[in-house]
């Protein structure tokens, strides 16, 4: 055989800068338990967590829906680092167990051999901190990346003060840097109860809990006893705009009457979705599982469909039960560590909760009923609900009104969220669809009158955190990459001007190889 195409990826990737036996991503209860368990079983373990996140990312609502309520203290990296470390005694325990703990370190990509990608020296995770980016190879990877808030929009949801319960937990619990005093909580399930309880415990007033259904989803008696009004059969129509963001929640009750509840924060605590972006972007299999909170990893025990990659905690499926109870997540973590190292592990019980989609749909339907088509579905790209259902190109194109809409597109084939994304730009923005992926899917399900599970996932792609060009560009590069770089395939005959093909002028063109 001739030499391998020098312009191909073959042999271009360097060995990763570091290599560990067990890499754990996410230092919540699941990841920390996994790291400690693996270290105690004698493995060399690295545990990375993106917290404290930079103010820049938090401002983009990455990784959580902070909604402009992250306090200024978040900007003080060193102080936040100490706080994050102090907020969870288990981190110190991990440190003492010999775990290499890297806080403020983001995993932005997982790359492993699979169909179409065979050129890596081995499976790697792309890591980055504030100043550097590098690849970390691993023998075993445990993804304990937690969950993200289900975000649903209403008029005024694009202003500071509308945020998610996961973010509230991070700001109050981890950072002690929450910029709000009075919050209205949407939802009455376990998550909402945990959020309300946390808020009250930290001295934040809860102006109301809002529930579209006729009765609370979880036991709200303790909250009622603490004086929290629980408004059932009620939905938020709008968040009133004030000089510093939200000034009030405008609620529509069962009788259709609107009432104004002053507050500075509206906290979405309807539901959460597993954070599966690293796995999915690497080709790991997901299943649409309403009981686990949406698209969740396809698992055998804690093992994902990618060899050597395991999943633990909320990332494996948002567990039913009190959001404040981390014992299930810890058990998952230990099981994942044992399985990863080849020990018997009692398979963690799958999150056998009820299907969460009917509840989500109840919320979406009520929000649609009281809101107009002008309510945003995608904040980054300024795409409204009407734009999504009308499959309208972005306004800046100034295109003439088109007869095409979701219903005509459905005549051509089943609904495909990625196709709608490319046409409307919904989910294409800087938050990487953290604020819109699920609500656009709900909207499409309702618009197309199909089950939510029938809307294919709008895919995730690396980097799963929006990192600067200059930072990602710091990755090590082999000379072969530089020397073999070509703008396209490097097939010299491809760029010979047509008239010169087969003439003596042809040879002149076979040296230079760039094109337009």
């Amino acid at each position: 055989m001739a030499t391998v195409d020098p312009k191909s990826l073959h042999g271009k990737f360097p060995a990763s800068r570091e290599h560990v036996e067990v890499l754990v991503v996410g230092a919540g209860p699941a990841g920390t338990a996994a790291a400690i368990a693996a270290a105690r079983l004698g493995a060399k373990v690295k545990l990375v967590d993106e917290n404290p996140v930079s103010g820049g990312l938090a401002g983009l609502d990455v990784p959580l829906f902070f909604g402009g309520r992250a306090g200024a203290a978040l900007g003080n990296g060193q102080r936040m680092l100490e706080r994050v470390f102090a907020a969870d005694p288990k981190l110190e325990e991990a440190f003492e167990a010999g775990v290499d703990l890297a806080l403020g370190t983001t995993a932005w990509g997982l790359f492993a051999h699979g169909p179409g990608l065979q050129t890596l020296p081995g499976p790697v995770v792309g890591l980055a901190d504030e100043g550097d980016a590098w690849l970390c190879g691993f023998d075993r990877l445990i993804l304990a990346t937690g969950a993200r808030d289900l975000v649903l929009f209403f008029e005024g949801a694009d202003q500071p003060g509308v945020m998610g319960a996961q973010a509230l937990h991070a700001l109050l619990g981890r950072y002690e840097a929450f910029d709000g005093r009075e919050v209205v909580i949407l939802g009455t399930g376990d998550l909402a109860v945990a959020a309300a309880t946390l808020a009250l415990d930290r001295g934040v007033a809860v102006a109301a809990m809002v529930e579209v259904r006729d009765a609370p989803e979880a036991d709200v008696a303790p909250l009622l006893a603490r004086g929290v009004p629980v408004l059932t059969g009620t939905v938020i129509r709008a968040a009133e705009r004030g000089p510093f963001g939200v000034a009030a929640a405008l609620l529509v009750g069962p009788d259709g009457a609107e009432r104004r509840v002053p507050c500075d924060t509206v906290c979405l605590a309807v539901d959460r979705v597993p954070a599966v972006e690293l796995l999915e972007a690497a080709g790991g299999a997901l299943v649409a599982d309403g009981a686990r909170g949406g698209f969740a990893p396809r698992l055998v025990g804690p093992a994902s469909s990618i060899a050597g990659v395991f999943v633990a905690g909320d990332a494996a499926g948002v567990a039913p039960g009190p959001a404040g109870d981390a014992s299930a997540a810890r058990a998952w973590g230990v099981a994942a560590a044992r399985a990863a190292l080849g020990y018997d592990a009692p398979a963690p019980a799958p999150a056998a909760g009820r299907d969460r989609n009917p509840y989500r749909l109840d919320w979406m339907r009520r929000l649609l009923a009281v809101g107009t088509p002008d309510v945003l579905a995608c904040q980054c790209e300024d795409v409204t609900r009407g734009d999504v259902l009308g499959v309208r190109p972005p306004r800046y194109l100034g295109a003439p009104a088109s007869p095409r809409a979701l219903d005509t597109l459905l005549g051509d084939g089943p609904v495909n969220q990625d196709q709608i994304k490319r046409l409307t730009r919904a989910c294409m923005g800087a938050c990487q669809a953290r604020r819109c992926r699920e609500q656009v899917a709900l909207l499409l399900a309702l618009g197309a009158q199909i089950p939510v599970e029938a809307v294919p996932l709008a895919g995730y792609r690396a980097p799963v955190r929006p990192l600067p060009l200059g930072l990602l560009g710091r990755l090590d590069e082999r000379p072969e990459m530089r020397d073999g770089w070509d703008v396209w395939f490097g097939i010299p005959t491809q760029w010979v001007p047509y008239d010169d093909i087969g003439t003596e002028r042809e040879a002149e063109h076979l040296r230079g190889n760039m094109h337009l």
């Binding site: 972007a281 194109l397 560009g473 005959t493 337009l516």
Partner: protein, 396 residues
């Protein structure tokens, strides 16, 4: 009563058409649109969603000086929005910015080729380059400003072809793979699909990498090797005057929204699977692309990368297109653009239409793009060229 078994078996199959096009990428859709404009009854089938392969995942460049279709490409693009009735986001002109002397020499050579075809190209010194491209930095060596060429939005263009085709009465069937060709009496009479046989008088195969396997049973040998290529896109930045600015070993464009969408660099050779690729993964190459984009536009080094993606293209052994209607069986027209087919699609579709309807291309001489040139190609051409998959390489 005599039963028509054929008719019965195909009762559920979609109605055939005068011309069936296999492949709903830009090539097949443009060809079908051109055919429909000529009043031909045409049906496009695709194994998935239109534009889901290379056609919806590319750099959107529309500036191919090397092609015999270049003039037609340049003539058509400024009219495409009006002709199709849907936006393509086409914008004219290109700037190619050099940050090394080697690049500068190369770009000036390209400028010469383009000028020789009758188009204006300006050469900008570093100061002028920085003025024209505010994201450029102190490392700018020079730039060529091509007064022709341009760029468009791939997925929007695909959809515009499909909708324009439907508006003319043509049909598109998605999620309808061609499982094979149906041959009778030495001619192709239809395609086999999971829904049954779809009949046609003429077949156009524009199925990307899968074209080779589809055509073989009809005695047509179209040698192809597939490969994966990658791109990145950043958050939006303020608009450049010429969105089609690239260079430094990258191709790409600033979208009208402001995102920088760029690709380039090494590819990975793949084996083609008849049912289509099982994945289109990106790799850590996104970091090498990021590095080069930050070198090209130092003032954009802070821009955040939102996504990377990959697409799969097929290449012929010489990297040049095949647009041909082989004499045998005579009613099959073949088109692959060999990895450079988005920008040329308005013209390639026109050429395919001409071959189907008139038997020859009416607006350009394309004889050198025929299949004939591969007559004596050895069976192991891929290995000889080193265009092998990593698995095959390891095995060797």
């Amino acid at each position: 009563m005599v039963m028509d078994m054929d008719g019965l078996r195909d009762a559920a199959a979609p109605k055939g058409a005068e011309v069936v096009v296999v492949g709903g990428g830009v090539t097949g859709l443009s060809a079908a649109w051109w055919l429909a404009r000529s009043g031909v009854d045409v049906l496009v089938i695709d194994k998935g969603v239109v534009g889901w392969e290379a056609s919806g995942r590319n750099g959107g460049g529309c500036s191919h000086y090397q092609s015999p279709l270049f003039l037609e490409e340049q003539r058509l693009w400024p009219q495409m929005d009006a002709l199709l009735g849907y936006p393509t986001e086409h914008r004219p002109e290109r700037i190619i910015l050099a940050v090394t002397q080697g690049q500068w020499d190369q770009y000036r050579r390209i400028a010469g080729i383009i000028r020789s075809q009758g188009f204006a190209v300006d050469e900008l010194d570093p100061a002028q380059a920085r003025e024209a491209v505010p994201l450029a930095g102190d490392n700018a060596v020079g730039a060529i400003h091509v007064r022709t060429g341009g760029h468009a939005n791939p997925q929007r263009t695909v959809q515009a072809y499909a909708w324009a085709l439907q508006d003319l009465g043509g049909r598109v069937l998605q999620h309808m793979p061609a499982l094979g060709l149906v041959l009778r009496g030495g001619r192709v009479v239809g395609v086999a699909t999971p829904a049954g046989e779809i009949g046609c008088d003429h077949l156009v195969v524009a199925a990307g990498p899968q074209a080779e396997g589809l055509l073989l049973p009809a005695g047509i040998r179209l040698p192809l090797a597939a490969a994966r290529a990658e791109m990145i896109v950043t958050e939006p930045l303020p608009p450049l005057r010429v969105g089609g600015t690239d260079g430094n070993g990258l191709y790409g464009r600033q979208t009208l929204r402001g995102n920088l969408a760029y690709g380039g660099g090494p590819h990975e050779w793949l084996d083609t699977e008849a049912a289509g690729p099982r994945g289109r993964p990106a790799s850590p190459l996104l970091a090498n692309l990021s590095r080069r984009l930050a070198e090209l536009f130092p003032k954009a080094a802070h821009a955040r990368v939102l996504r990377s993606w990959a697409g799969i293209v097929e290449n012929t052994p010489d990297g040049r297109p095949v647009i041909d209607r082989p004499a045998d069986p005579g009613n099959v027209t073949v088109c692959t653009m060999s990895g450079v087919g988005f920008g040329l699609s308005p013209a390639s579709g026109h050429a395919v239409r001409d071959l189907v309807v008139e038997g020859r291309c009416s607006f350009a001489e394309i004889g050198k793009l025929g299949l004939d040139r591969f007559r004596d190609l050895p069976a192991d051409w891929r290995e000889r060229q080193g265009w092998v998959t990593p698995a095959a390489e390891r095995a060797a």
